[in-house]
């Protein structure tokens, strides 16, 4: 139920309350055909009030259903039927009982939700801490190589041939490039550390972001051919452009580094209902079957192992992608294509109303 947006919440609660009260009424009406007594009526309505308190937000609907339940039972199901009679013995007691049940359950409910939130918060914190630990650990590897290689050149300036020096410097350059990518991912995480609400979304033309990401990627990996397909319609998507660029970059680099002999990548943008669909597919060897189900959290669950090596692990980049997409209320999927190669897709909600206006 956590997925219902705030604005819709009270409508949802209202409908639920009405439905449960209606069900209780129908049940009582049916039972009355079998049994003339009325002992079960109160019990059924207490049950209804309890159910409503459990599944709605806050105290309001529980109390509301308790009050209306009592009045309703009085009006319909107690003698004289279809008339109010407040002089029945035990009436105030029934009313109090229902009210108490509703408030207790609402209170419990609120507390459960609070604990749930706390648990998620702690979990998030733990994931972040693991991620940072893993990254710091792995940043050491390229740093060691950079320090070692440059020191070797400085100390052996005269004895090394220029060919040797060049090879060492190429390694240094490659390691530094890797560090840059890692830091970019770290920055993306810190950008989101304020929680989901903090993401600043602007309406962007999705094709521009795709275009910029691909051209940046092509500069780093000129050997790989990237084709882009965009629809005729302009898709406007509310997003933090820097973060979404990071997602597309990560997916492209993931294909280039872990895809296995990838020579071609296809980036495709399309509209699927009220979502924009971004897909990145390659012609590499695909994703190992056993990784497919845990691919987006693979990097994080592997963090505890000591032999965790991020250079060989595609998990971190993908976890960052997944986190970013989720923070945009989007979804992400990974699959292997029949033709071989992997395909990653992510969906972001389109700006409501605007896209249809633009078409005309």
């Amino acid at each position: 139920m956590a997925k219902i947006p705030e604005k819709m919440r009270w409508i949802y609660d209202l409908l639920l309350t009405a439905a449960i009260l209606a069900m209780a009424t129908v049940l009582c009406t049916l039972l009355r055909r079998i049994d003339d007594g009325s002992g079960y009526v109160n019990l059924i309505f207490v049950l209804a009030v309890a159910t409503i308190s459990r599944w709605t937000e806050g105290y309001f609907w529980g109390i509301f259903s308790a009050v209306s339940g009592v009045l309703f039972v009085n009006y319909v199901f107690t003698y004289p039927y279809w008339e109010f009679n407040f002089t029945i013995t035990g009436y105030p007691f029934t009313f109090l009982a229902m009210l108490t049940v509703s408030m207790m359950i609402s209170a419990m409910n609120t507390q459960i939700k609070k604990q749930e939130r706390l648990r998620i918060e702690t979990e998030k914190e733990a994931v972040r801490a693991n991620l940072l630990r893993a990254m710091s650990h792995d940043i050491r590897t390229p740093l060691t190589s950079i320090v070692g290689n440059t020191a070797a050149i400085l100390e052996n300036e005269d004895s090394f041939s220029s060919e040797q020096k060049r090879r060492l410097l190429e390694d240094v350059n490659e390691d530094a490039q890797w560090l840059i990518r890692m830091v970019e991912n770290l920055l993306s995480i810190t950008r989101m550390s304020g929680g989901q609400a903090k993401i600043e979304k602007d309406c962007e033309a999705a094709e521009e972001i795709v275009g910029v990401s691909v051209s940046k990627f092509t500069k780093r990996f000129p050997a790989i051919k990237v084709s882009i397909e965009v629809p005729d319609e302009v898709l406007m998507v509310p997003m933090d452009a820097t973060l979404i660029r990071q997602v597309i970059m990560n997916l492209l680099e993931n294909a280039a580094i872990h895809g296995g002999n990838v020579t071609q990548i296809r980036v495709c943008l399309s509209r699927e209902g009220t979502n924009a669909c971004f897909s990145v597919s390659d012609n590499g060897v695909g994703i190992p079957k056993e990784r497919l189900s845990t691919i987006f959290n693979g990097g994080l669950s592997g963090v505890s192992h000591n032999n965790f090596d991020m250079k060989k692990n595609m998990g971190i980049g993908l976890s960052v992608c997944y986190t970013i997409v989720k923070a945009h209320d989007g979804t992400m999927t990974a699959e292997n294509l029949d033709s071989g190669g992997a395909c990653f897709r992510f969906y972001l909600p389109l700006e409501e109303g605007i896209n249809s206006e633009i078409e005309g």
């Binding site: 962007e204 521009e208 980036v267």
Partner: protein
């Protein structure tokens, strides 16, 4: 002997200023280095450099203040160096008159290209000398005819709407330079226009559908995420 262009590098990190000055010296520039804002201000007035490379994060003052001060009396080209986390700084710097920006970390070829473009721009009397001479701007297959108000790809008119033409014309006039979203919106829709990027994005998407082979891998007009657009420059 050829007269060398003088570049002032304002950067507090010595490693970075060392690397920049090494590269620039090797590429035939005279290099001056200032490590603080105060030093920079005094060196600008005493040495009159041809170009300034300005890091916005300085220990003693905000780089933006140096930019403002220099712009109050001179139009000498300034390239701002920014870190990725400060996107608003970048836009602010451009709106305050910086000629270009470069993001850390940057490569040497990128830096040299930006410097050459910025210096060339100040050497041409109008913003784009090509337009001043012929009323036309041409780059690759694209021609903007400022007299007849149309844009050609090859010799085909691509039929832009009035606003679309205004956008392309403006980008062409300052080809090679980033124009911020805000600047473009104010120029096209007037100073009272809302700073709403959406209409600009949609116009740009339509322009690209008319002038580019693939709107998502543009050849002529490039997107600078979070900042603005830049027209391909017709460099020799």
């Amino acid at each position: 002997m050829k007269l060398k262009d003088k570049v002032l590098v304002v950067e507090d990190e010595q490693n970075i200023s060392n690397f920049i000055s090494t590269v620039l010296t090797a590429n035939d520039f005279d290099v001056l280095v200032a490590q603080t804002g105060a030093e920079a201000v005094s060196m600008i007035t005493s040495h009159c450099p041809d170009l300034i490379i300005l890091d916005l994060g300085l220990p003693d003052m905000d780089g933006i203040n140096i930019l403002k001060e220099v712009r109050s009396w001179s139009s000498l080209p300034i390239i701002v160096v920014s870190a990725r986390t400060h996107e608003h700084d970048k836009v602010m710097a451009l709106d305050l008159g910086a000629d270009d920006y470069i993001e850390k970390p940057f490569g040497t070829s990128e830096l040299l290209a930006r410097i050459r473009t910025a210096i060339r721009h100040t050497r041409t009397p109008l913003d784009n000398n090509e337009i001043a001479q012929s009323g036309k701007f041409t780059v690759k297959n694209l021609t903007i005819d400022y007299d007849k108000h149309h844009v050609l790809i090859g010799d085909q008119d691509v039929h832009l709407t009035l606003n679309e033409f205004k956008i392309v014309a403006l980008l062409g006039k300052y080809a090679g330079k980033v124009l911020t979203y805000d600047y473009l919106i104010k120029q096209i829709w007037g100073p009272k226009a809302k700073a709403d990027n959406q209409i600009l994005r949609v116009n740009m998407a339509n322009i690209r559908r008319k002038i580019e082979k693939n709107p998502a891998s543009p050849e002529y007009i490039f997107t600078e995420i979070g900042v603005g657009y830049r027209m391909l420059e017709n460099d020799a």
